[in-house]
Amino acid sequence: MVRTLLAMELKKAFSGRWFWLAFSVACAIALLDAVSVGYYELTAGTIGIEYADTKYYPFSVDSCFVNWISMDAGQPMANLFYLLLPLLASFPYAWSLRKELDGGYLQNVLTRAKSKDYFASKYAAIFISSGAAVAIPLVLNFLVCACVFPMRVPDVFDMTMTCMPPDGLFSVVFYNNPMLHVVLVILISFVFAGLWGTAITSLSLVVKNRLAYTLLPFLFLFLLEYLNLNLINHYGFLISLTPFEYLRGGGAPMNPHPVVMTVEYVLLLAVSIVSLMAVSKRDAL
């Protein structure tokens, strides 16, 4: 039964126009970033390389692991992608539970299926669709960059150009196994987007207006960013509190801190689990 429900919910999530809208916007930004990085490489990026002895000292900066959207600080599209990421994650299917509650669809389903099964499938579909709307464009960007740049392993001696300090998050993985670093960064973004989607769904159980429950958390992130940049950083704590920066593999003005990230992920997860448990006990009538 759970499998049938999950398949049904996934089909609804991935065929909806809101998923395709978010996915298209994210893909457009990711592709524009890859094209602009590639264009820069073809025009300005190679100047001077012919004079260097690349046989004995290959430029590790000239690598897809350094130039893909998550590590690239030189293109504005990379910044735009991460600024819009939470908004795009809330578009695909996070609104569906509120709509089903208001429209009476939920009562019909709950007479035919166990409420726990249904809500678990619903939350899983929201998690997967929100994550996919963000993670697939990241994969797409990496693939396009890999078509333009060689897969050179970044060298720690080039760290001023790779935007990854030695004490950065996952820096050991980045300099030793960059492919694993790409997978980790995409996975972290996927999980954040999924949890953000389910947290928005949880909020929709309390707040009825779709604009309010979708946009207010997004505006709250900007408030957090403002407090981060203007107050917390000012007193010497150079850590990043918002996903605008900590989801990026590198190139952000502040270092991602594993504790901050864990706390925020656990908070989002806790909100989702508590609301899932509460809504599962709800009477269908």
Binding site: A73, G74, P76, L80, L215, F222, E225, N230
Partner: protein, 283 residues
Amino acid sequence: MSRVAKMAVRDARLGFRRTLPAFLLFSLLLLVQLLSFDVRTSGRPERTSQLGVGDGVCVLLYGSDPFAFNPSDPFRVPALWLLLVLAILYASLRYASSDFEGPGIQVILSSGSRWGWWLSKCFWCAACSISFALLILVVSAGYSLCSGGGASLDVSASTFSLLGNDGHEISVGSPKTALFLLSFAISAVALSLLQLAVSYRFGFLSGFLVSGIVVLASVFAGTPIMLGNSMMFVRSALLSGNAVGIATSFAVPIAVSALSVLVGGLCFKRMDLMGGDQNDDRG
């Protein structure tokens, strides 16, 4: 009183009542920024006087220089400016969306004029955006008077220096600051009308997504088409010859506003109000 005027008065009355919490939170945020700037810079040698009204406006709407790659100093987004502009857009759209159901639909039917209803919503968006711009001025004036900074709209060179614009020794006179505030208000109106036009055709979330992308992209691209550029103090022609010119910062938003009202009205006139599921999807 004409039908349009009646509907506009209704929208203004209901809209400002429902948006009151947003106005209060917005004022609080402005005060926090002014106070924190004051505290942070009080001991600095560049600080020569208390913040005047113009200084306050500059601190609140300063924005940031256009995006430039520097590996040793990564670009920082102007978080406060983004928050203020996005909050204005959200507040104007919030009432428009909540009035597109139940009693709001009844008003369309009973008035018998879709154009009238549409124009009254445009009036609401304009009134809301201008009110937020005025609020910035009022809070700056209130703070300045309380802290003994004076009532002048002049922006001192020391304020620019404290905001990180060390390369310029520029002070801006009162007329230019007033002109900038006017261009801020007109650009905010244009953005909110643009998102309103998109909203009734493609959904309210889509409307916010479009205006949000324009605002966020403005941070990175210094072209006048990106309306956010006319809303940042640092990018207006008041400060830099390379930035958005005064004439452009008025012409582009006025053109966008006129197009949005016209195209949005035409689309709204043809819209199926009994769309059921389709209307639910408008968010």
